[in-house]
Amino acid sequence: MLPSILGRKVGMTQVFLEDGTAVPVTVVQAGPCHVLQIRSKERDGYEAVQLGFEDKPRRLAARSERGQVAALDSKRSKNRAAAGVEVAAKADCEPQRFVREFRGPVNATVGDALTVEQFTDVKNVDVTGTSKGRGFSGVMKRHNFAGQRASHGVKKCHRHAGGTGMSASPSRVFKGKKMPGQYGNSRVTTRNLQVVSIDTENNLLLVRGAVPGPNGGFVSIRQTNKV
């Protein structure tokens, strides 16, 4: 299993390295993350580890969310125990707010708490988050089109795309033509970001450059597999 963790984007700032160069960094508060479940080839068809981040108040958690992290007492569980069904291992922690799976061979057990310490020797990471939503956006913002001229006869079309296709042949607009539409609020991965420093005491990870999403947004971080 590659070093992986869940966290929350705190914000961006600038830090000085030992040699005095100033580096732009994103501060991510990451872990400790409980291992909630282990996916195995025999049972689930794939190998993965399921992590949870940040406790959710019990009053906000559904019963199924509580059952995910701890063994609950119910008529059904009693019936199942009587029938000889073994209960899956539980992490025995509070319900978690942000739960994600990381695929790959597993070397953890349910209930383990993963911290930023895993990243001590890691040089680069991939960070996945949900990008800031920009709503229904035009082509200039969404696809970096150039738009049209400010003058020289252009009327009311300064931010338009221009032509979308050819003429009588093919008489249609090709599929996949870049047009206005929903932009942002989608899953985005920024790859190969350098780990500048880690702070095990405060569970902080400082990553060089920008990370998808707003400040306070959840992100998942894993060692990059990019060569």
Partner: protein, 117 residues
């Protein structure tokens, strides 16, 4: 943005005691320069004509005249490459950015000295 975690990270990147100088001061900025394996100190002296940014990202601008040509250099206040900042002389100023000095030549560049009480 103010946030306890951000404040902590920023604080760790600031010098414990921020160098003290004002706009209009004539200062000597001692910068560490790496030449191969050797480190030496270079001094840039001139008038502080402005400060920008805040916290660990604060910068200051120093202007001097070299061979009749105005030269401005911007330094980060908290950079570990800055060894020290010596205040040689304080000038009287009524504004935060002394960009008007750029249009002045010769004797007019001088600022009136402020007497420290």
């Amino acid at each position: 943005m103010s946030n306890a975690i951000m404040d902590m990270v920023n604080k760790a990147n600031q010098k414990e005691e921020a160098p003290k100088f004002d706009i209009g001061d004539t200062v000597d900025v001692h910068t560490k320069i790496l030449e191969g394996a050797k480190e030496r100190i270079q001094v840039f002296s001139g008038v502080v004509i402005g400060r920008s940014g805040k916290g660990s990202q604060e910068m200051f601008m120093v202007r001097r005249i070299v061979a009749g040509q105005g030269v401005e250099r911007k330094f980060p206040v908290h950079s570990p490459r800055i060894d020290k900042i010596e205040v040689k002389r304080s000038g009287v100023t009524r504004r935060a950015k002394l960009y008007f000095l750029r249009d002045r030549v010769g004797k007019a560049v001088r600022l009136k000295e402020r007497r420290r009480v």
